[in-house]
Symmetry: C2
Subunit: 393 residues, 2 copies
């Protein structure tokens, strides 16, 4: 991948949004949540890329996935090793072209990257929220995102865009605030998890919750980290993010050293990769946040209150949709996107659908696959044109 | 499923082999292992069903899968709740018809059901073997099974039969002892694990090994059981045994109670199922055995020493093969069976192949799917006919 790293001695890549600084918005109006509880006050950390035009019509909202956050593009400092997580698609001349658009990317409530979440202080007790942080759902997130839009003076987004769990938030936007979103881009997502999806999440949760360092979620006060559980959760996750073929091509049955050791040290390259990914994650991500994000995935099912009729659930939507899936994604396979597309068509909504040939499984939504870039850019350029935004210089 | 349970007050089903008693064979001749170590002496626990004929030509060997054992058919007592694990296919009038065949089923070395394994005493130290039990491989198992055949006076098996990891043992028989196996039945197996298969095994191993009750494998001496790890390992395993569709049909997004609880207690039926399966397994299976069995799966790759050429690896085989796969098996999908079939054809071996339409994923190999039963029975009846065994009465 180009532009994936810079060092202090090199200039930032020209296609990058460059140096960015996270900002914090504080909200004092209590937020009633789907679970019945009320969050009294909260912060949302966010970044913006590009410039909001005078009409305030060129804002694009980025919704993040399970382990994502607000840092979607650019660099926090000249010596940051990697840019934001969606830098492949956000920047000058990229799919979401910051020469046209003003991009807003936030960390969701319950997150562990600066927005109010389990590691924040609970104003009622003065302790960390920890496991007492209320369960937040996709609809709660979208409510809080709408308040962030108010805070930024954005009445209507030119587009809401998201992959995976982010795509669910985009769907929720079109149903909850149809007049506030001009376009919806739903990538590698699903209108609801399958039993198998829930099963994988449940394994991850059990791994974290059964870790002796978890202390019923009060590990922060115990000055421990349930690293073993987080590591296992991430290892399971990674298997579902990669396609079987991608894993086969990347690692096959390659050994770390020349011979088998007939023991439990790393022998196969794929073991080494998973352990590394798991270890890295276990020292940076909050366990209570991980639990909560997987639950938000499990709960999302807008068709449920309509007797399973997704088209009826989507009836309020007023915008055109772009739906994208990837051929080897087995976490949220193309069939799940087609389910959504069929419901949109039944509901009489304008929808473009692309199933992108990619070997990279679910992770493909993060990568700059040429045909994916072409479809994504073409759609976003049309959005810009329809809104009368100036052409790329 | 018929015949799946009896109570003390009911007679045993007529299609059952009835009450069976495990037997133990002791071996004093040291067994050199693939890992370079030598097992000085060992026991193998086994059961037999049917009657060995005077020519000793009607013996069928059953090779078990990851968590299997010697108790493949019949009942240990009249009040045993369930019969052996392959009772659907072994018995009078069943696929492996005990009116024709003398069936031998053993627990493999390293197991935890009576054969010498990590829970057995180490003669050198007087302690349990525990984690010092040497790594055993598929080829070691087959060597030990050949010695059991010697012990029983069986020069040549009418068939070696196995599903999943059991199928790998059958393949190994045809290469290591081609003159001692007249037919090979390889069901829901693969000639080698994929990177994804190894990845799932590695998650299971890490779950067990990172459990604080594991004590580097010396939990026996610490009087603890790494239950949390075993439970997670089994939960991951179960997801791979069921097809996504089977899980969807069985559980869907059904809730345990009417409403969401917005917490971490069981909410979805699939969570309840996985936790139950995991808990049950964690109190009955030995962790060191589980580790060792997953490693035996990972290591099996007979083509490796032939530069990846499976046909060359299979060249020594002298018998006809029946290969069976199941359409929704995503653990060892039909493509892996076809890989084997193609190699057998390249190597000029007679092979019958059936891809059975089943919704039950990998677990289908345990079930009495009608077409599966028909194919399996037809093949075994031909085996009986070719050997001049008497027809079913």
């Amino acid at each position: 991948m180009p532009d994936s790293s810079v060092t202090a001695s090199e200039p930032l890549p020209r296609s990058s949004v460059g140096l960015v600084t996270p900002q914090i918005a504080h909200f004092d109006t209590p937020l009633p949540l789907a679970c019945g509880k009320v969050l009294p006050a909260y912060d949302l950390v966010y970044e913006t890329y590009g410039t909001l035009n005078a009409e305030r019509s060129n804002a694009v909202l980025i919704c993040h996935a399970l382990s994502g956050h607000h840092h979607a593009a650019g660099y926090h400092s000249a010596d940051e090793a990697k840019p934001g997580w969606w830098d492949a698609h956000i920047g000058p001349g990229k799919s979401i072209d910051t020469d046209h658009f003003f991009v807003v990317s936030l960390n969701n409530l319950g997150g562990c990257h600066g927005s109010t979440g389990p590691t924040s202080p609970n104003p009622e007790t003065g302790r960390q929220w920890g496991p007492d942080f209320p369960m937040v759902t996709v609809s709660d997130w979208v409510k809080s995102q709408a308040r962030l839009a108010d805070h930024l003076g954005i009445e209507r987004f030119a587009a809401a865009v998201g992959g995976s769990l982010g795509g669910m938030q985009v769907l929720q936007w079109t149903m909850a605030y149809p007049e506030r979103v001009a376009n919806a881009v739903v990538i590698a997502a699903t209108p609801r998890l399958s039993a198998q999806n829930i099963a994988f999440n449940e394994v991850a949760r059990q791994a974290i919750r059964s870790d002796t360092e978890f202390h019923d979620g009060w590990y922060g006060e115990q000055h421990t980290v349930p690293k073993r559980g987080l590591k296992l959760a991430r290892m399971v996750g990674h298997i579902t993010y990669l396609s079987e073929d991608a894993m086969g091509h990347k690692f096959g049955r390659d050994l770390r050293s020349e011979d088998l050791n007939f023991g439990y040290d790393v022998e196969f390259q794929v073991e080494s990769y998973l352990r590394y990914q798991g270890d890295a994650f276990s020292t940076t991500f909050d366990a209570n946040t991980y639990l909560l994000m997987t639950k938000a995935l499990d709960y999302f099912d807008p068709a449920a209150i309509h007797g399973g009729d997704l088209a009826r659930a989507l009836a309020p939507a007023q915008c055109p949709f772009l739906v994208v899936s990837f051929t080897t994604d087995w976490r949220f396979p193309p069939s799940r996107s087609r389910e959504l597309v069929d419901a949109l068509i039944s509901a009489g909504k304008p929808v473009s659908y692309a199933n992108i040939d990619s070997p990279h499984g679910h992770d493909a939504f993060l990568l700059p696959e040429p045909r994916y870039c072409a479809v994504f850019s073409a759609y976003m350029n049309r959005v810009a044109r329809d809104l009368g935004l100036p052409e790329i210089s």
